[in-house]
Symmetry: C2
Subunit: 372 residues, 2 copies
């Protein structure tokens, strides 16, 4: 029995949007889904119960961060990441690849893997396909991601082609190390930058390995939105219909709509909690910058259409006061609201697909919200 399976429930009549369900050892996930990010074994400023209460069925955590601190062996000794962080629903871990590539001068790529220096203490380390799977095994996530190389944007064709081919070779090594175990799934990652034929090549190479799911990497890395949409449109067509599709690192409301419309099932992004810590909220009427002086005596909720804990109990004036006073409760309340907003948005999107009115719902939302 595979650790993770996908069931297609319904296809939208007018777009590639689809309603599905992913089954994992830690419960089922209704898709399309937004996954809150818990980088260092905590969704920042949130108790796990809050994240559950708002309906999150899966969170993402980071291999690179947990490998360096506290160390994957400690998480393994604690009984795995679920137990360590008090989260009993599904967890997806990334491979650490994206983080080590982002280290710039601090890393060196070879066929074996990536040698890098820790951003915390400068110590020397090596992440490879085998090492990444070893770490993710210790973490005990339900879905492990393959160790890939994410080409930057822009990048020339030769670089991108070499990079995607190495990603495929690394994926084979990941699959070997993973060995189709019963309690953890492995997802492959498509690369290929902004070159459609390279995307096709990457997709064909990774789909051949018949993995439980596939991610689209290397998008939303700085390219214009139109280009992202155009490439994504193609990417999804190369992926099998009976496996979940995950667009990595995407989480603004408009990108979620564009991704769902093109057939993506899973998304993740640090955005909702990160902007919360900077006093920014996503609301049904668009962005709210709580620092703004006009909220000083605004005793209405952050989002009058929202039923989250924050909007039920506090005013904009209070939230502004907390932010201006550097109070921790500010990050707690705004993080709660922003995550609730995206999780609730995905709930509405799923319903819209079920009722064959996805495009209408998208239009309605854009009309009220604007682009983020």
């Amino acid at each position: 029995m595979a650790a993770v399976t996908y069931e297609l429930i319904k296809k939208d009549a007018k777009t590639k949007a689809r309603r599905g369900r992913v089954t994992t050892p830690h419960g089922t996930i209704e898709t399309p889904v937004f996954m809150p990010v818990g980088t260092a074994a905590t969704v920042k400023a949130m108790r796990p119960e809050e994240v559950k209460e708002m309906g999150a069925e899966i969170i993402l955590s980071n291999t690179y961060h947990l490998y360096l601190r506290p160390g994957h062996e400690i998480v393994r000794e604690a009984g795995g990441l679920h137990k360590f962080m008090n989260w009993d629903r599904a967890i997806l871990t990334d491979s650490g690849g994206f983080q080590v590539f982002s280290l710039g001068d601090l890393r060196k790529i070879t066929e074996e893997g990536v040698e890098f220096r820790s951003h915390i203490d400068g110590s020397k380390h090596m992440l490879s396909p085998e090492k990444s799977i070893e770490v993710q095994t210790a973490l005990g996530s339900d879905i492990m991601m393959a160790f890939d190389e994410c080409a930057p944007y822009p990048a020339d064709r030769g670089y991108v082609k070499n990079s995607l081919e190495r990603t495929t070779r690394w994926l084979r090594r990941c699959k070997e190390a993973w060995n189709d175990r019963e309690n953890q799934a492995l997802f492959g990652i498509m690369q290929g930058g902004m070159y459609k034929d390279l995307r096709k090549q990457s997709a064909e190479e990774i789909v051949e390995l018949d993995l439980p799911g596939y991610a689209i990497g290397g998008l939303s890395v700085g390219e214009p939105k139109e280009l992202m949409c155009d490439i994504l449109d193609d990417c999804v067509d190369y992926l099998p219909e009976d496996k979940p599709r995950y667009l990595m690192g995407v989480g603004t409301p408009d990108y979620l709509f564009e991704g769902v419309e093109r057939g993506v099932d899973m998304f993740d992004c640090v955005l909702p909690t990160r902007i919360a810590r900077h006093g920014m909220a996503m609301t049904s009427a668009g962005k709210v910058n709580i620092k703004n002086a006009k909220y000083e005596r605004d005793f209405t909720p952050l989002d009058p259409e929202c039923d989250c804990y924050t909007c039920r109990n506090y005013s904009r004036a209070y939230l502004r006061h907390l932010f201006k006073s550097n109070e921790i409760l500010s990050a707690m309340l705004l993080s709660n609201h922003n995550l609730h907003f995206l999780i609730n948005l995905m709930r509405q999107i799923r319903k819209a697909i079920e009722e064959d009115r996805f495009l209408e719902f998208k239009r309605e939302f854009y009309g009220k919200y604007g682009e983020f």
Copy 2:
């Protein structure tokens, strides 16, 4: 009908410790009680529901801070502090006196009041007895504190005598401004430094005004513990038995015991939440510095005897990881534990008084805990 009344339930057989009940417009408070501090209209890193769940019946908030930010008029427009901060139990506000005196060079004391510059933006302000009552009226606290002058330690007799006499004159002005209203009580504050005869003089002057409660100010300001205990012993004797007694700014476990033993009913301190943000916890076995390397692989709870949310769900290894990673959840979980610890300690103290075994309980506690 007075806004706040005190009922003496039981006196300890061997000490001056007493079990009582304070009734306020926002519920009753079982005493002796520890009051969590919510300086800027939030108990730092805590949702108000958490503070309620652990059994807090009253919190303290700060006039000086709220006067400057967001401004008491805004809190009044919000419907008062209870509504603004989503706390429906009792609130005690200090007068701002202690904070403005602590500003040092930034303030100037006259008979009228204290002229000072804001620690936030350097703007010029005046706090006086009347102004303090005006601000506390806007905040709508259940218990307002008189605007007093807290003499530093050490201070010479002449300074302390002048200061306490001014405090009495200011108290009369506070009482005049308060005018025995139905929904808010006014507590007077005894001063007199470390001079027993001056403490007596101060007590006699303020008790004559027949207020709903009395605080002991100017203790635990840097003097040795023995001196504090000696002075406190005297102070309490000068206060009426039918009114609550509040020892300001005291909150380490050993000082709570010493205060209760000498007949004090109410305490407050920022300590539990402040040390939490620095990775320190109070536990039944004494202090725990969660940063310590020995907790790296310690998968036991912070305090095995504690049933708080933190101890029920997380290990020392996880708490250490959160602190080392600068995660907000670290402050949230340790604040929760430390407040729970003190509130639970007061619950046990109340029970011990009811069962005439206060001194035995104190001995037991010191035996396990040591001094803080």
